[in-house]
């Protein structure tokens, strides 16, 4: 492989890195606390969305219980802090692994039945988790949930303060984006896309379809896990309803609106869904209606999501240039013998 073809995928990462760098500069304009809080929530969602984009965008399977995976790690972080005095940085990997294990427990039976059943199974597991948490007595704090106290420190500095937490979340979003990009451009990502395109053919070519689907779900669980720990420490209090069906549907909606296959998609979807009600001044009921309409519009008009649609529109505008690029792009891969 020559340097040119190695650099080509890097180019696709660049726009996201530039956008994230700009987002990291926002505190310079002394934004309101409300803005920062919204942005932090959006960022925490975006981390989970990058996992969902590997699952849905690459592998073609949709989880309708993804908030449950976020919830597992949020609760794990809270319980670790309460019972073992474990802090943020230790809870982070432990809780991420907990989410990954939960994903495997859900994934093994669900993915075996295959196809549309997976959507229903993940939805059911999500509901089940909310029920278990609600009925978990003092251990899970029942319907009230759990408090999670304790500062988050980084290199000795307290990052619990809003602006610092914001910057830390932006850093985690960056890591999530790069990780998702690396997966997409690896041979593993290619295997997942093959499964998305045609399972029967993939299996006939030696791909263990079931194992890779479970693997993709587990990978998405790790992203969800990181998201959950950040959420628990940000909110300081978690409760079962945060991880039930509506939040799960919202996550699926965000990734679809943004576009699951492109690296900019999760970022766009997460930001849009977080800020749209604020910008349009909608109450919760109105915003649900607007999201519903958005989702239908995206599914019908923009199969690759908003970002995919914008890219396509730009391609249309610069058709000649895009064609040239496509030809240039094809060249190095052909030379790769």
């Amino acid at each position: 492989m020559n340097a040119g073809s190695a650099l080509k995928p890097l180019r696709s990462l660049l726009p996201v890195l530039v956008i994230l760098a700009l987002i990291a500069l926002v505190p310079l304009f002394s934004p309101s606390n409300r803005f920062l809080s919204l942005a932090i929530s959006a960022g925490i969602n975006v981390i989970a969305l990058y996992g969902l984009s590997v699952l849905f965008g690459q592998t073609g399977i949709l989880s309708m219980g993804h908030a449950a995976l976020v919830g597992v790690s949020a609760y794990a972080a809270a319980i670790l802090a309460r019972d073992f005095g474990v802090g943020f940085w230790v809870a982070l990997p432990v809780a991420a692994v907990a989410s990954a294990i939960f994903a495997m427990i859900v994934g093994v039976p669900s993915l075996r039945v295959g196809g549309h059943h997976f959507v229903i199974m993940t939805f059911a597991f999500g509901q089940l988790l909310a029920i278990v948490l609600t009925n978990g007595g003092d251990y899970t704090g029942a319907a009230t949930g759990l408090d999670i106290a304790g500062p988050v420190t980084l290199f000795g500095a307290d990052v619990t303060e809003l602006t610092r937490y914001y910057l830390m979340v932006v850093a985690f979003v960056t890591v999530a984006a790069v990780a998702s990009w690396a997966i997409i451009h690896s041979s593993y990502g290619r295997t997942l896309r093959a499964i998305r395109e045609n399972e029967k053919l993939a299996a006939s070519l030696g791909i263990n379809v079931g194992r890779h689907k479970i693997g993709a779900f587990v990978v998405s669980g790790v992203f969800a896990g990181v998201s959950g720990v950040l959420l628990a420490y940000f909110l300081g209090h978690i409760s079962p309803s945060q991880f039930s069906s509506f939040p799960s549907i919202y996550l699926a909606l965000m990734v679809m609106i943004g576009g699951a296959r492109l690296i900019e998609g999760p970022l766009a979807g997460g930001i849009l869904v977080a800020f749209l009600p604020e910008v349009l001044n909608l109450d919760p009921v109105q915003s649900r209606i607007v999201y519903g309409i958005c989702l239908i519009a995206v599914i019908m008009l923009l199969p690759d999501g908003l970002i995919g649609g914008i890219v396509r529109a730009l391609r249309g505008l610069f058709a000649g240039k895009a064609k040239q690029e496509a030809e240039r792009d094809a060249a190095p891969s052909e030379a790769r013998r």
């Binding site: 041979s187 290619r190 295997t191 896309r193 093959a194 998305r196 395109e197 045609n198 029967k200 053919l201 993939a202 299996a203 006939s204 070519l205 030696g206 791909i207 263990n208 379809v209 496509a326 030809e327 792009d329 094809a330 060249a331 891969s333 052909e334 790769r336 013998r337």
Partner: protein, 240 residues
């Protein structure tokens, strides 16, 4: 010499339908064996059961002496059996070259020829090298069939099962395909091919097996089988 594939008593029921009724068939190393029979006689089912797409209702399949009965499709592919489906298919949303790269990445190590041809060389072999950068979904039907062949070859098979590889191809494409398939035994790949086109089968196969209602009714040298009254009976009014 023991056969590369030994099928014995293989049966398959779909609900009340008996698609295979206890078939015995041996494929010899290095040959191109033809399997023919009327529509619905169980040819595709035979391949599907051998490659793990369907679980057999009974019987055994030995590949180089190893029992592979009922293994998952990916395991059978990795054991060294390639399969092209009756329905031509590829990963439509992915590039043509990328398709072949994927197919090669999950193959068993080794293979008969060493080193195995690269994905690009396989595209050259089937005559699609100029289309490597295209999306597989935009290929014309004939090219899609050839891509299917390249995909199966990329898995480094020592036995290749082709289900109606020439269906939907024009004369020129069919001739090209015959040329390609004939080369395979020379590269260490045994072939078993299903087709309805008897001219094609006569060109390719020195031996034919005939299925009718899920049973094997004839098996032997092509000319003898095609002159067999039982076979003529099955094809009465057909295209023989």
């Amino acid at each position: 010499m023991s056969p590369i594939l030994a099928i014995s008593g293989l049966s398959k029921q779909f609900g009340g339908v008996t698609a295979l009724a206890g078939v015995d068939l041996a494929i010899e190393e290095g040959e191109i064996l033809g399997v023919v029979g009327p529509n619905g006689s169980g040819k595709t089912t035979l391949f599907n059961v051998v490659t793990g797409v369907h679980k057999p209702s009974g019987g055994t399949v030995l590949f180089r002496g190893r029992d592979i009965t009922g293994l998952a499709p990916h395991a059978i592919s990795r054991a060294g059996i390639g399969y092209t489906f009756q329905q031509a298919m590829a990963f439509a949303g992915l590039g043509v070259l990328e398709n072949v790269q994927i197919a090669g990445e999950h193959a068993r190590a080794g293979g008969t020829a060493n080193p195995w041809p690269t994905p690009q060389a396989l595209l050259d072999f089937v005559g699609l090298s100029a289309l490597g950068g295209e999306k597989a979904g935009v290929l014309p039907f004939g090219s899609l069939r050839l891509l299917g062949l390249a995909l199966a070859l990329a898995t480094r098979p020592s036995l290749l099962l082709l289900d109606e590889p020439a269906a939907g191809l024009n004369d020129r494409e069919t001739t090209a395909l015959v040329g390609l398939v004939r080369q395979l035994p020379g590269h260490g790949i045994t072939v078993c091919v299903i087709d309805h086109d008897m001219k094609l089968m006569q060109m390719l196969c020195r031996r034919l097996a005939v299925l009718d209602f899920g049973s094997k009714i004839a098996d032997g040298p092509t000319e003898a089988v095609l002159a067999d009254p039982k076979v003529l009976d099955v094809y009465l009014g057909g295209d023989l």
